[in-house]
């Protein structure tokens, strides 16, 4: 543990493996590092495939590196078994920061089941926090439910779109408009960027909490490097907003509350479903109405 706190990459990687593989030591390691957590600024980056999220993350990372900050990047990929883990290597090799010791990149993929991926990536974020990374970026691959779960737990969420995303907004309405703290129209040198900006601003005007934080829409081109400065100013403004309003603390508490709820529910329900109760359920499934069956199971002690 001292090694991880002292900056050992080997120790960090080993501890992450414990969390990813959900070993018996993982809870102990996480709990013992708890006093060293809570300093990092957590940024989530989500948006459809092809929006240029990775390039944008690289540019943001560069700005933070130039000011001496250490950056952790967690790439979360709840892909179906079709795509597998090919992405990690690509992401690492494509990064400008492949050889920079001040940048730690880790890809987390599902292993058959998506359940728990968001929770595990959050715990890996905690480890990077304890290891002294100032900024932790959660980069997602798409905009599915797991991705939304991931960015729901960060301090600031960036939603990255491209001018062609106009049609996708409908598709993404369930959650994505609500979840973004800053919207980015990337590849904004292409046609339709201004128009999409207007559509977004109209949608965002309907969000309730626009009085306290007016969600900005930034136009960038990560490849050309334009608009990055304005984006960094938006990030800085949102970070200050969180601290000024106390939202920073309440978001951290929400994360902790959510996690304790999950840990407790997992244990309580796994204790509850003993063989007797499972038997009652299986025997009754075809013939006993569901509410009555539930009552019989609940009454069995």
């Amino acid at each position: 543990m001292e090694e991880l706190l002292g900056g050992s990459l080997r120790s960090l990687a080993q501890t992450i493996s414990h969390v990813e593989n959900e070993t018996l030591q993982a809870p102990l390691l996480l709990d013992s590092l708890f006093p060293h957590m809570g300093h990092a600024y957590r940024v989530g980056v989500t948006g459809p495939p092809g929006a240029g999220k990775s390039t944008l993350v690289d540019k943001i990372t560069q700005v933070y590196r130039d000011s001496g900050k250490r950056v952790g990047i967690i790439v979360v990929d709840p892909s179906s078994p079709f795509t597998g883990g090919a992405l990690l290597g690509d992401r690492l090799r494509m990064s400008d920061h492949y050889l920079d010791e001040g940048v730690f990149i880790r890809s987390m993929a599902t292993r058959g089941e998506t359940g728990g991926l968001a929770a595990r990536s959050q715990e890996v974020g905690d480890l990077l926090d304890a290891a002294g990374y100032d900024i932790i970026i959660f980069e997602t691959v798409g905009v599915g439910q797991v991705e939304l779960d991931v960015v729901e737990t960060v301090d600031t969420t960036l939603v990255v779109l491209v001018p062609e995303s106009g049609d996708d907004i409908q598709l993404m309405k369930a959650g994505i408009i609500e979840i973004g703290d800053i919207f980015i129209i990337n590849k904004s040198d292409r046609e339709g960027a201004r128009q999409l900006g207007h559509i977004l601003e109209q949608l965002l005007a309907l969000k309730e909490e626009q009085v306290e934080w007016k969600t900005p829409v930034c136009q960038t081109s990560a490849t050309l490097g334009t608009g990055i400065e304005e984006l960094m100013q938006c990030l800085e403004r949102h970070h200050s907003h969180l601290k000024d309003t106390g939202l920073h603390t309440s978001k951290r508490r929400d994360r902790a509350r959510q996690r304790v709820h999950r840990l407790v529910a997992d244990q309580v329900m796994s204790d509850f479903w003993n063989t007797t109760r499972l038997d009652i359920m299986e025997r009754g499934l075809d013939t006993v109405p569901p509410y009555q069956l539930s009552r019989s199971i609940l009454e069995e002690s």
Copy 2:
């Protein structure tokens, strides 16, 4: 209850309201109708907005009506508060079957929270089942998580795409390729239909269970009425496949098991979180590591 079984639309609508509003009587009503459930064939229709799902559902409904079957249509719309409930009226007015007593259309929207919408729509399906509808179509508005939850519980899932959906397939990979039993390329008179068909067939070839059921890709134009006959044959084949392999029964059991799990977990966890335990959690959130805090809560009895 006798009135509902006897075909009273008024009684059916009243019972649905009980389920939608989660009244105290809802569990009793559902349980008492349980012996009359289990005969209907449940079909889910999902796909991105603008794919023509409603028109297609109307065409399918017409074919079933022509053969004397009664059809229930449940439109599930987990929209954000932005769109509200405007859809229902449109969907009703646009349907060819607005005035047909053999067709029952009901729209179900979220009311602020999406939790439970999939479960409630399934219970409304059960009511239509008990009321003697032969076919129950669950039509979704988009392809979000709730929509996937909805179609996960049906017998046969149709995924409706359009030739332009090529780019969206990436976006939708998390779940939608796995969940479809029959794929439909609607508006297939447009350019790119054949190409999308090839892409889909390649993706589907990687699905594991292709030995037992080779997922077909149908080309339709719901507006022009082409391809509907082939689609109906695919539906008929899949229905037979389910019955021949016993999957029909195991899917019904999965639905029942999932529901009992949920009912029991809701009750157990709501009993568990008494004020003492909530107090321990709230007092510990800032200072006690999460696993240790969970243990303290679990040890409190």
